[in-house]
Subunit: 154 residues, 4 copies
């Protein structure tokens, strides 16, 4: 007889992957924007997104909101990788260079600090050939509950 | 014979409206996300957006990136209202309450400071019944050129 | 016979003033930097500081850290004005113009949002003749306990 | 006969050290707060400061403004290390843990991005035994001129 608890990951990296998979199915925004989850581990996540025609602003470059959304999504996967429900409390972004339609952007999130219920994550957004586009810093807040109910952090 | 210069706005409010209209036709992101431009004036803009099913994140609430994108767009219309090409150099957002699918969000941008080529704009995001969702502050940078070529700031 | 409870303020403005007075005696930094508390009310505080010779940086202008410290102090008095112990969780500042030795700076803090244990405060720093120097935004976090033990928020 | 040009550093690290030495003599704030310059190199600087009795706030912990000032000073030495006059345009700080009187704080600044006239620097503030106190991010702006006139970047 099937027992879901047989599937409980026993190490942090596997827990991060399981948590990301559970979040992804509910994450309509990431899917609608064509994001891909490239890497996931404890406190880290890398996502990519291709700049589409409907992501361009009034200056003919990628809308800053779309760059932010990619970075914010990488942040979300990194800060929920412990399987503890966590949301963004605040974020700050520096836009360093424009991105153009058709370019592939990658956002790499890494945990810089975690204390009590809050954490700080840095996200670097660059093109897939390494041109730096933006630097993002997010502040996370745990809100109670688990991403995958019944799992505990390994 | 038609002379486009007959159409040049002679007061700042009309110039802001003309500039916004020109930006809007090129702003694929604002259109794709179903935004509406409610008010525009010199250094000010108000936009609205309904939270759609494809704007929800892994926690079943409006994706922070979508809230940011609405605020960033209001900021863009406000900081380009002088008809001088201006982009976001940086932005910071505090997320204060979640928004849910179906809710109508409004973002009101206002110029707080302008000195040389840079400016600071504050954007308040709330639901259409007044619940505060987020506070955004953007730093703008003029990049040269005009939004509507041939027009000058009134 | 003296009863300290006779002194308990019964309105929010008086409570803010009493709280500020209690904080001031312990606030060695504000005193060392020669700050003055000009106004205090619920969620609001205005402080001033004269730029001294020992507040100048390597570019011969007022050190950004000193401008921040004045703004951060106004923020502290505003966010503790409810007599609930509150600290700065984060802050952001845009430096808009340099200030010079001998100039008098004023920082006006105002509460923009308060939800649960966190709040957002905006501080405007200008010279006493109205030149805008910096815009500051602080995020506060309540940490438990009262500034003046035994008092409750009116 | 003495010729000052004999002293022009021929490598970036030596230029950074010479620039820092020139800034230090004018930096009244760093001296008044008892800061020490521990390390300097191209795009990097580490400074320390002991939390004195006059750096404490109304909550009996190190004033956030003093922590910011230390971080901002490390940022200033890092971003001026190319001998091109550079100022802080904006900065953001997350306060992660309180620091107490008598503790020695260290701030390590590192250049994260530099494009045109602006740059982004990250500063980590920790106690000398490694406890993380704050994370700071600064945006720099070059204003023209050199820190040491007559020197060029090596």
């Amino acid at each position: 007889m099937a027992d879901i608890h047989h599937a409980v990951p026993t190490d942090p990296s596997a827990l991060a992957a399981a948590t990301a998979a559970a979040m992804w199915t509910r994450d309509q925004t990431a899917q609608a924007l064509g994001m891909q989850l490239l890497k996931i581990d404890t406190g880290r996540a890398t996502l990519s997104m291709t700049v589409r025609a409907d992501m361009v602003n009034g200056h003919h470059t990628c809308h800053g909101g779309m760059i932010f959304t990619l970075a914010d999504t990488a942040f979300a996967y990194a800060c929920n990788s412990h399987n503890l429900n966590t949301v963004a409390a605040a974020a700050q972004i520096d836009f360093l260079a424009p991105a153009r339609e058709g370019e592939v952007l990658e956002a790499e999130a890494i945990e810089r600090a975690a204390a009590g219920r809050s954490g700080v994550y840095d996200v670097t957004v660059h093109t897939d050939d390494g041109r730096l586009i933006a630097l993002f810093r997010g502040k996370s807040a745990r809100i109670g509950g688990e991403v995958i109910q019944g799992l505990k952090e390994a």
